[in-house]
Symmetry: C2
Subunit: 155 residues, 2 copies
DNA sequence: AGTCAGATATTGCGCCATCAAGCATCGATA
DNA sequence: TATCGATGCTTGATGGCGCAATATCTGACT
């Protein structure tokens, strides 16, 4: 008789696939970016999100939300990136509690360089994918992302 | 004129989607498992992989490989789980360098309980997915996972 | 048998993220 | 205007993970 344990639930396996796929990609791409562009992958995530935002800046809170870190973690992350000269803190004129993290010229430079190597590595990783595969992956991921963002907050 | 910067490369966006989808799911499911089953998500990953393995055990190295950690991290992770009574170390009879991590009866108990709540939460998260959506996601993820495991090692 | 390169697991150290607490500020309400 | 809960960010303490070095062991080659 087959085991009736819930550890064989197909959804668990699906999520396991997602975890493994992401972890492996992240490790490979992350170490490649570190060695080829001298930029930790988190820094790249910060910079690209700042570059794509209105005014090329984001509040600490929304940045924390976008890169899935606590505001505490973002405070110190931005500290380090500020020392490196890639971002700067800008006060908010209408609310003295908030401070924006904005990308600097040096940040733009390193971001562009890193994006080139990142795109090249991604093409290496997804080399076996046809355009149809990629769009299928995109839509599937978008559905997951949407479902995930609908989830209630941790409290 | 449109910006010619490589930061708008569609592959970068795809990977960003993957990162965001995974991070959000992982955070939500992880904190839920922690609060509802008293089990950190990494512990669950370890236990389910041990339970599914030949002899319900795995060498430290292959375990490290499966959960995307260094052997160093696995050493201490298994330390903690051993103190909790969920796993045990077993010497290898044919090679005295390797030690197996094996799941205990207590580990099985907590794994089964956690799997129930995990499956329930997964069903909550993927509630809007049709069976077709799920199989599409599965095949797409499997292709990514396969591509990722083909990547050369970090050296 | 003797030697040595490679493999396996563990340990010391430092970095980085979370958690909890604290501080300053805002908006609403009396 | 005065008060008070909520919000945004920062800081101190704690814990976990990776990197590099170490110890032990294996397998192959001489």
């Amino acid at each position: 008789m087959p085991s009736a344990t819930p550890i064989d639930d197909p959804l668990i396996t699906t999520f396991g696939r997602l975890a493994e796929a992401y972890s492996r990609l992240e490790q490979w791409l992350g170490s490649a970016m570190e060695s080829e562009a001298g930029l930790p992958h988190v820094w790249f995530e910060v910079l690209i999100r700042l570059a794509r935002s209105e005014g090329e800046q984001l509040t600490m809170s929304s940045l924390a939300d976008q890169i899935a870190l606590t505001t505490s973690g973002v405070t110190r992350l931005v500290d380090r990136m500020q020392v490196a000269g890639y971002v700067e803190r800008r006060p908010c004129p209408t609310d003295r509690r908030v401070s924006y993290a904005g990308i600097t010229a040096a940040g733009h430079d390193v971001l562009d360089r890193a994006a080139v190597v990142h795109a090249r590595n991604l093409r290496k990783a997804f080399g076996s994918f046809t355009p149809q595969d990629l769009t299928a992956l995109d839509t599937a991921l978008d559905r997951v992302r949407e479902a995930a963002s609908r989830l209630p907050r941790q409290p």
